[in-house]
């Protein structure tokens, strides 16, 4: 298997439907999200697509109060680094959790953040 296991557009199409897609190395079993061309653990170029649980805990978080221009109307908002149950981690926007309730270790669950032309990753209450 040498073709790209999952393209970005496939990933975000899945995310829009609530599926968080990862890839598992056919050689050593290492898991990656987002997908990479080569396995950073063993160097092999061959992946299997896997659907992740979407469950995880907050490893770190921040509340953005001075946003980039395009997000001017949204601040304050929180961004968290989330360690997924499967062991990999990824950043997402925190949704539907009060800012003062955020703590490291808080259980969260994947939520797609879909706008007209873009889907990004969010995490809400577990």
């Amino acid at each position: 298997m040498t073709e790209t296991a999952v393209t970005l557009s496939q990933f975000f199409a899945g995310a829009r439907e609530g599926r968080l897609t990862g890839v598992r190395c056919a050689g050593c079993g290492a898991l990656a999200i987002p997908p990479k061309e080569f396995c950073p653990a063993c160097g092999r170029r061959g992946w299997e697509v896997v659907t992740l649980s979407g469950e995880g805990t907050i490893a770190s978080f921040t509340v953005i109060r001075v946003p980039p221009r395009a997000f001017a109307g949204e601040a304050p908002y929180a961004i968290a680094a989330v360690t997924l149950r499967e062991g990999v981690s990824i950043l997402g926007r925190v949704v539907d959790i009060p800012l003062d309730a955020l703590v490291v270790g808080l259980p969260v669950r994947f939520r797609p953040l879909a706008s007209k032309d873009q889907t990004s990753l969010g995490f809400g209450p577990a």
Partner: protein, 384 residues
Amino acid sequence: MRRVAVIGVGVTKFGLHDRTSAELFADAAGDALTDAGIAASAVQALYYGNVVGGETEHQLHTGPQAASVLGIPSVPTTRFETACASSHAAFRHAVMEIAAGVSDVILVGGAERVLNVSTAESTEYFAYASDAVWEQPLGLTFPGVFALIARAHMEKYGTTEAQMAAVAVKNHRHGALNPKAQFQKQITIDQVLRSAYVADPLKLLDCCPFSDGGAAVVLASEEVARRHRKPVWVLASAAASDWMLLGDKRDLARVPATERAAAAAYRQAGLGPTDVDVVELHDCFTIAEIVATEGLGLFEPGAGGVAAENGWTSLGGKVPVNPSGGLKAKGHPIGATGAAQVAEIVTQLRGEAERRQVDGAKVGLAHTLGGNTATVLVSLFGRD
């Protein structure tokens, strides 16, 4: 490989300027060439750092533009872009070109202009150094990147907001001794702690400012350097990279690229952290200085906050860090920063840093971090 020396340095004042980045660079480069006592016509290449010229000045191709404004249009010129580490990356490649025997005299530097646009705009442009698919769409900012690192460091090691504030207070105290610094005013722990949150737990006074400015250094082969005053030798210049996505980093409380670049630089120079007398490092945020002092091996992982609080990194302390005032007080014109840090170390090793001089400094280290910690450069310097 041939030995390489820095024979001239020049830095503009950092802060608000009604001048283009090319003008700012040419000003610094003119001072560096004068300092070196060498004619502009002796320069064989220009390695140039500039980051957001396309956004703030509608200018790409900034290398040849800078060379033209300087009046040396025919030298081979390359622009480097590794976010905030751009001119340090340029420096490392110039060192390699001279060490390899390709050139004898290279001008290295950089410049940035951002204060001609609003804070909201520059916040957006700086965020372009984070991943456009995965992290920019979340509304992540640069203070946000380092806030995530700060929270992880606080959680893992018990680092406090007061310890981070101690870094800002120390760097402002140093900056008050530097006539080129953007902020030459002391601040208190209380002022830092009471300043408004930008990205929790980082507050306004934990953050370096947006700045305009230019910096340049003249590099020469040993043969050329011997004919000039006070050469400062490049003992090592190393680079390391790391995952672009913060989510791919397994431990947000550490910066592996700093650890790898430092290890490579110490190995090249045959030195270790205890040999270093003076350090200029990348304190874009107070937490960045804390994690850098740990990554460079100056203190154990987790001990950087305590070190700052105890004054170990102050002028007169165990290992003075950022005598220039650092990015925090001196300012951070991102394309110029790496070259400016090198210029400060050279000035320190020459014994010409006046009121901010680290007495008897013989070995200096410059550390520059690019963007979201995906790029780090570390260079070591020594004198005869």
